[in-house]
Amino acid sequence: MTVARAASSRRSFLGHSYNLVGVVASLVILAWTLVAIFAPYIIPHPIGDIVDDDYFGPMRQGLWLGSDYLGRDMLSRVLMGARYTVGISLAAVSIACFSGVVLGMIAAVTGGWFDTCLSRFLDAMNSIPSKLFGLVVVAAVGSSIPVLILTLAVIYIPGAYRFARALAVNINTMDFMTVARVRGESTIYLIGSEILPNIIRPVLADFGLRFVFIVLLLSGLSFLGLGLQPPLADWGALVRENIGGLPFAAPAVIVPSLAIASLTISVNLLIDNLPQKIRDRDA
């Protein structure tokens, strides 16, 4: 057998092949994750302190990203904002995807009345506009971090459910599912051991996409003043409170926008360029 190595833009590592875009995207995500974890230890100034004489100050030594509409240090506020944006979104997307995927797989395996009722109920949930739903909930019970997480999770459960169910229904018709059923396996085994390994890649991709949606929705809610309440601020809230700096081209309004963009675009690019396992064993 003739063996030669073809020139390729992908490189391989630990039996997986990567490409450059995927690596850069994951580095950006990693950086924001580290910032989210260690923000309280690396911020130069407390987020509530007014450190500048002027408002919407420019970038300069000591105030690397300028100051906001009250003269607070923008760098500190963006770093701390990462904590809320990434943390709340991650918690919400984890709850949404876990519940959605588990329910979706159970519905696909069980079928019948359970499937019909659950699907119709979640379709009804899906028909409520997400911002309106958030508005009503926040108006009813007030805004706090747990309420935000749960609201965002509930908004995105129906989508995750539909996605997982559609994938699982296809797997459910395979003969190995019939074999497992005739063996007498329980539903838990069927969904965990037979279906999940076959749908995990698209489910993870969906997880990433939904994370992006949640970051954007959270930023949107905060922009409307329904998200985190001052003096805490996530990136969406930072954009809103500094919107007055737009005519002055203040970094205070541009930087949080760039932060949102860099995180969401990176997650999207990573999903499109996930490392692929190499199945060619002779290589």
């Binding site: 057998m1 063996v3 030669a4 092949s17 190995f176 007498g184 396996e185 390994p197 290589a283």
Partner: protein
């Protein structure tokens, strides 16, 4: 240039996902004269389809023609641009795919799709193209040649669709037609009509053909010459008669040997009264809403009774749609029967698998046709085989691992295969893993649903030999469901013929030559023989064909 097609030293490379180049066609040369039909034969992975596609200058995604010449009618297909090739496709060279059902667009009429070639190449006005299509329909002996074009693909049978695909290929008056396993998916009774139609049209038009197949008996009927491929190289070339009577290459001999009648195992221990393992009385299973009398609207299995004795095998044979798979599913409880008794090992079984005890489920295993879908692609072989061990026998990790080795030995697979995923195995290996999983349960009865149908002839006969050996060692019984008489004949003690959901006849293999029921006669006489004159000499009772054939 004397021949229509001259392929010289063709090389095709494929790129693996690690970026490694693998040569899949290693210097193939072949000639096809005007009006000659050449068969490419070989096991799956031998490169026969790749060679056939290269005649159109096409290489599948990831593959590349890297060397050699493909001269078709004086033009080197390998050197032409894609635009030039496209102009030749449909007019000089045409292609008939394996699965016509997948090749037709379900949302437009057959006529529109058949004459599409003439429209793309601007060959003739639509009116004339329609007339030409009707002529072709008639030449291919399709029923209602005037009206069939107005139908949609799902409104005609599989055999008809395959002939319509041939009409689509022939309408541009090609010099060369490539047939890619066109009858593999068809029943034997239908296959004959399709083969006859192909043969007469090709002879009448003096069209050259390439016929890709792994079925030597089918090829013997239609081809003038045979090219045997293995591992991307030509093993042997010769006229059909030469190959069939005086094959030189060991692989060709192996192919031929798979057709010889297999020695039947002789039972020395003829028990005076064999004990019945499974008894089924008046089983009815079907689909659709249940009527007031508890019967389904569509009866796929209609009052079937059968008995399987311990250590004996029952073959169930019939064409697709005769209810044989539904019968298997009803017995296994996957598709619960509407009415009827199932007595297994002296005890009455519940109709639905869900209500049966774990031991009852364990003792009756079912093995499916397509190992591709019957094995979970996300799990290594080891996990697949050891699950029944943990589930039924509660073995711990070490005991399971030891037993997996034993089971792999039993089905003659190397132990190192346990770490592989199903996608890394060949068709025959997958089917063996599929079978090993059934064996892991320690069953008394294994229901084999067309388990050799998706395999090549040589691989299938090896699997059958394996089943026989295991039966001797483990005292198993099989219910063997197939549409292939030679397979059933080789392994079964009794053969049940099904037609339209009913049992029409039950005979023993030694009496296969003399069936009594008219449908059995038609079915048994439709199995292709290696003799090249068989198809031309075949005379079928037109009354029988009218009654039972699906034309």
């Amino acid at each position: 240039m004397t021949n229509l097609v001259e392929v010289r030293n063709l090389r095709i490379e494929a790129t693996t996902d690690a970026g490694r180049l693998v040569e899949i066609i290693k210097g193939v040369s072949l000639d096809i004269a005007d009006g000659e039909i050449v068969a490419l034969i070989g096991e799956s992975g031998s490169g026969k389809t790749t060679v056939a596609l290269s005649l159109m200058g096409h290489a599948r995604p990831g593959c590349r023609i890297t060397g050699g010449e493909i001269n078709v009618d004086g033009k080197n297909m390998a050197a032409l641009t894609e635009r030039e090739r496209a102009r030749l496709r449909g007019t000089d060279i045409a292609y008939v795919p394996q699965s016509a059902a997948a090749a037709f667009n379900p949302s437009s009429t057959i006529m529109e799709q058949v004459i599409e070639v003439t429209r793309i190449h601007g060959l003739m006005p639509p009116e004339q193209a329609r007339k030409r299509a009707v002529e072709l329909f008639r030449a291919l002996s399709l029923p209602d040649p005037e009206g069939i074009g107005a139908r949609y693909p799902h409104q005609v049978s599989g055999g008809q669709l395959q002939r319509l695909a041939a009409a689509m290929a022939l309408i541009g008056d090609p010099k060369l037609v490539i047939f890619d396993e066109p009858t593999t998916a068809l029943d034997v009774t239908t296959q004959i009509d399709v083969l006859k139609a192909f043969k007469s049209v090709m002879k009448a038009g003096g069209i050259a053909g390439v016929y890709v197949s792994h079925d030597l008996a089918v090829v013997a009927q239609i081809a003038d010459r045979i090219v045997v491929l293995k591992g991307g190289e030509v093993q042997e070339t010769g006229t059909t008669a030469e190959i069939l009577s005086a094959a030189q290459h060991p692989y060709t001999r192996e192919l031929l040997a798979a057709f010889e009648p297999k020695s039947r195992q002789i039972r020395a221990d003829e028990d005076s009264r064999p004990k019945s393992l499974l008894r089924i009385d008046n089983l009815v299973a079907g689909y659709g809403p249940v009527k007031r009398d508890g019967q389904p609207v569509i009866r796929a299995v209609d009052s079937v009774s059968l008995v399987v004795e311990k250590g004996r095998n029952l073959g169930v044979i019939g064409e697709s749609g005769c209810g044989k798979s539904t019968l298997a599913r009803a017995i296994a409880g996957i598709h619960p029967a509407a009415t009827g008794e199932i007595v297994f090992d002296g005890k009455a079984l519940e109709r639905a698998a869900r209500k049966r005890t774990r031991d009852q489920l364990r003792e009756m295993q079912i093995v499916f046709q397509y190992a591709d879908t019957a094995l979970n692609p996300a799990k290594p072989v080891e996990d697949i085989i050891s699950r029944p061990l943990a589930f039924y026998h509660g073995l711990d990790r070490q005991a399971r691992s030891k037993r997996v080795d034993e089971l792999l030995d039993m089905v003659r697979l190397p132990r190192s295969l346990r770490y592989r995923h199903p996608s890394e195995l060949s068709g025959g290996q997958k089917q063996r893993v599929n079978f090993a999983r059934a064996l892991a349960a320690d069953p008394k009865l294994i229901i084999c649903d067309e388990i050799t149908s998706a395999l090549d002839t040589v691989v299938a006969s090896a699997v059958i030999e394996l089943l026989k050996e295991l039966q001797r060692e483990l005292e198993l019984s099989y219910i063997f469901i197939s549409h292939d008489l030679s397979v059933v004949e080789a392994i079964c003690d009794e053969i049940m013929v099904m037609y339209n959901g009913e049992r029409v006849e039950q005979i023993t293999p030694d009496k296969v030559k003399a069936p009594t029921h008219p449908y059995s006669k038609l079915l048994f006489s439709s199995v292709p023989k290696l003799d090249p004159t068989w198809l031309d000499g075949l005379v079928r009772d037109p009354e029988l064909v009218r009654q039972y054939g699906h034309r």
